[in-house]
Subunit: 193 residues, 2 copies
């Protein structure tokens, strides 16, 4: 039943199904058929809208990335001082939709995709650069060597991500991850409160 305006909603469904299937299966070895089925459409339609499997993967990456960006902006807008901004960034990394098991699993797989797909690599680079840049900015008034601390914190966040991507038992524990990064940051900026 072809109602006009289906495009946007079908593309959304397909992108979500892509993240879901990659997360569920835990690998990029998902077929267009599986994704399409999960989205409730035929595989031909997925090709119709996205052109190729790679393009669909790219779109899924962009979706995760922009969700992360939105979360970050949301958290940051509520922060008042540098220390608050720092916490906001950390919370954004592990909060909202960003730390759901299938999203984390999909994320890990996109790291792998980035090794073959130059476009995926570019997307990932944007995320990494933005993360470090946000952290550096917030850290500048709080310590000397803000960049160095920011880079360490970013690596720590990534490490916690993949650790949680592995332990599939139960939902990822965002609270503990946040606490770990917070503890490091507090240590690094010499905050004794």
């Amino acid at each position: 039943m072809p109602r006009v305006g289906m495009m946007a909603q079908r593309m959304d469904a397909l992108v979500n199904a892509t993240i879901g299937e990659i997360g569920r299966k835990g690998s990029l070895d998902v077929t267009m058929g599986q994704i399409a089925k999960a989205a409730g459409v035929s595989s031909a339609l997925a090709h119709h809208y996205f052109g190729s499997k790679d393009d669909l993967f790219l779109a899924a990456m962009r979706a995760i990335l922009s969700e992360f960006g939105a979360e970050a902006r949301r958290e940051l807008s509520a922060a008042r001082d540098p220390r608050g901004r720092l916490g906001a960034i950390v919370r954004a990394s592990f909060g909202g939709q960003n730390f759901l098991p299938e999203v984390v699993a999909a994320w890990l797989n996109f790291y792998v995709l980035a090794r073959t797909q130059p476009k995926a690599a570019r997307l990932l680079n944007i995320y990494q650069r933005r993360l470090v840049s946000n952290l550096t900015h917030a850290l500048r008034p709080l310590c000397d060597r803000p960049q160095s601390v920011a880079r360490t914190a970013a690596a720590l966040i990534d490490g916690l991500y993949i650790r949680h991507a592995l332990t599939e038992a139960g939902p990822p524990d965002a609270t503990q991850a946040i606490a770990t990064v917070e503890a490091y940051l507090t240590l690094a900026i010499g905050d004794a409160r």
Copy 2:
């Protein structure tokens, strides 16, 4: 020219070729044919010795893991005090064969494999547990909350790994990675020297 005793040497070649090809291609999407060719044998022989592709992957993981273990033992044997042991573990993580670009890339992909292959997950768990346990042991005389610091350091190490797995330009910079982890540890144990 079938000389007896070929088995071990062919299996070694195949395992190395597996790591090499996964690293070169940057994904688990390597065919038995490619691996076999890189090892200078037919794909049938690879199946003959390893049974299945999964088993070959597993063997490659074990090879990396045991290389890491050997490196760790080597470094640890030279360490005299707890602080030295700490440094030894860190150096082992980024030293020797363990930080070659293709090994790091293969490693990242084994993380993904672990999400589908229970046996791979078990292997990875062993590595992770051993890393944390080694760190905790060395940290015990140096700080209160050794386990917490160990976990953070382990996550940091993993994070640096995947970061380096991404930036394919040039060889991974082990020195800087070691310095980063060392800086955190020094900070965490309150060593002011």
